[in-house]
């Protein structure tokens, strides 16, 4: 029997997960359900946990990804599946880097959560084969080059061209060129419009606390 810790701050989502697990009670049971990733390590110490369904954006602006990384260090045998509604593709790479076991897009994953849980329980690492191709104005996210994607993500963090250049360690003129091309592809006139469009497309998580 796999004991599952659910970390999600929405009661309906907790219930949906609890319902999936109850419907598969031959293999899974809910060990604990909590709202904040800041309490996940505490919950792991108090409960017999084999698997965690971890949301990234949890109660109190707590970051589930960094909490998962810390739990993995202390409890390497606990399988951790990241669940999110954000289309922030950087999170997939982070999850891999932290040695986590799975990643599931709540809205648009090809697989059912229970399938992912079964595969992870068998010891597989399950990450989306394709990331959601977000529509960004007149373009699709996949139409942006990797360099343009980096500039776009940096724009959501620091906004100024000079700061973006410093962050990415490239010339300010290069940033301007990328920005111009992205705006042309997407069909907007200013980088403010671009940033707001990208934020509305759930491309990046808001700033979260790492308090665990």
């Amino acid at each position: 029997m796999i004991n599952v810790l659910i970390v999600d701050d929405e009661r309906m989502i907790q219930k949906a997960y609890q319902a999936f697990i109850a419907a598969n009670e031959d293999r899974f049971r809910v060990a604990e359900t909590i709202v904040s990733s800041a309490d996940a390590l505490f919950a792991c110490r108090a409960n017999d946990v084999d698997m965690i369904l971890m949301d990234i954006y949890t109660a109190g602006f707590e970051n589930g990804m960094s909490a998962a990384a810390k739990i993995k260090k202390e409890f390497p045998s606990i399988k951790i599946i990241i669940t999110t509604s954000y289309n922030d593709i950087r999170q997939i790479e982070l999850a891999k880097e932290y040695g986590l076991d799975g990643f599931w897009f709540k809205d648009q994953d090809d697989m059912e959560l229970i399938e992912v849980m079964d595969m992870v329980a068998e010891g597989e690492k399950v990450f989306p084969k394709e990331v959601p191709d977000v529509i960004l104005g007149q373009a699709r996210f996949s139409e942006l080059t990797p360099a343009e994607v980096n500039v776009l993500y940096a724009l959501l963090e620091v906004t100024g061209n000079r700061q973006i250049a410093q962050r990415l360690n490239i010339e300010e003129s290069t940033v301007k060129t990328h920005m111009k091309r992205i705006c042309e592809k997407v069909g907007v006139n200013t980088k403010t419009e671009l940033a707001i469009l990208a934020a509305n497309s759930k491309l990046a998580l808001p700033k979260l606390n790492d308090s665990l």
Partner: protein, 338 residues
């Protein structure tokens, strides 16, 4: 003094005066303002540019060093203002910006001479102003972006809830369908078990729906987990509303639970909450063994203190006669801390 000697002296004087005149003319061509003063405060030499600036700054001719210094440091605000965020340069009423520097040099006989130079900073100032305006725009953009991201976060949450509701309701739909088959008597073998399972789930959902009126909270989670670990948490007083307060309480509660279980070996942790106009105070005490000596900050308590300070809260530890932890959390606007 002989005639020849006198002629030589007069020649020297003429030569010196001619030299001074050439120096003055050359200085007048300088775009920067420059003036020299003797040790007794008197003006020795100044150029046109400095004279014009002094007229604008003081409304009088340049005479004394002390007057000029005073006007540079405390100008008449109708004539010029000191720009503290631009290296204390002076912005004149006509919009031009100049920086005054003072230094002491010595003449060939070793007498101190005070030199005041005024540099034209208009170009740099316009660039600085442009940069300031761009920074303001960037700041506005960042604020707007932050608001959008928070709004998106709310909309993501709503979408998630909707999707989850749909999934739960789909399960209920399956249950109704199976029930219909069952009632009609055309149920297949094994459907009865499936039906009962769905029924259990559905009634469980409904029971939870009726029993739970509040949103789940981190504090409830921690209290429930503590009970699993054999520690009862008793809250006296009502928990003030606000995510910052709740976060602080949750952090302190976790630390106290850990300490009570690990060190004091207690079974009850009491949290007494009192609420003032500006501050909420929570006192944590356990029924375990009191500490042998004064508690020294370290490990978990230090991290707790750091995190509390970040949110504007404070912490006090009392070791005798029994352990007590008191935290004070200011009731600030929620958005201030997020």
């Amino acid at each position: 003094m002989g005639v020849e000697e006198r002629r030589t002296m007069q020649g020297k004087h003429r030569s010196k005066n001619r030299g001074n005149s050439i120096i003055k003319q050359a200085m007048d061509y300088l775009p920067d303002g420059i003036a020299f003063f003797s040790a007794d405060d008197l003006l020795i030499l100044s150029n046109h540019s400095m004279n014009d600036l002094v007229q604008k700054l003081m409304g009088t001719d340049l005479q004394l060093l002390s007057e000029l210094k005073e006007a540079i440091v405390h100008p008449d605000e109708s004539r010029a203002v000191v720009m503290e965020d631009f290296g204390n340069a002076l912005k004149f009423a006509d919009g031009n910006v100049w920086r005054f520097t003072i230094s002491v040099i010595t003449d060939e006989e070793g007498h101190p001479i005070t030199q005041i130079v005024a540099y034209d900073l208009n170009e740099q100032y316009h660039l600085y102003e442009e940069l300031q305006n761009r920074n303001k725009e960037l700041l506005k953009m960042q604020e707007r972006l932050n608001r959008v991201r928070l709004r998106v976060a709310d909309s993501v949450r709503e979408q998630e809830i909707l999707a989850a509701k749909m999934q739960v309701h789909n399960k209920m739909g399956s249950c109704m369908l199976l029930l219909r088959h069952y009632m009609k008597g055309d149920h297949a073998r094994g459907e009865k078990e499936q039906l009962l399972k769905y029924f259990r789930l559905m009634t469980g959902e409904l029971k939870q729906e009726i029993g739970q009126t509040d949103e789940p909270s981190a504090l409830d989670d921690i209290i429930r987990i503590a009970e699993k670990l054999g520690l009862k948490v008793e809250i006296k007083g009502s928990i003030p509303v606000g995510s910052v307060i709740e976060t602080c309480l949750a952090l302190a509660l976790k630390e106290c639970i850990t300490n009570t279980l690990r060190h004091a070996k207690g079974t009850i942790l009491t949290v007494t909450i009192t609420e003032g106009i500006d501050v909420a105070e929570a006192e944590f005490a356990d029924n375990g063994t009191p500490p042998d000596s004064e508690i020294i900050l370290g490990g978990g308590l230090s991290s707790l203190q750091e995190r509390l300070i970040k949110t504007g809260a404070s912490m006090e530890i009392i070791s005798k006669p029994e352990f007590r932890l008191i935290i004070r959390i200011p009731k600030v606007a929620e958005t201030d801390k997020i």
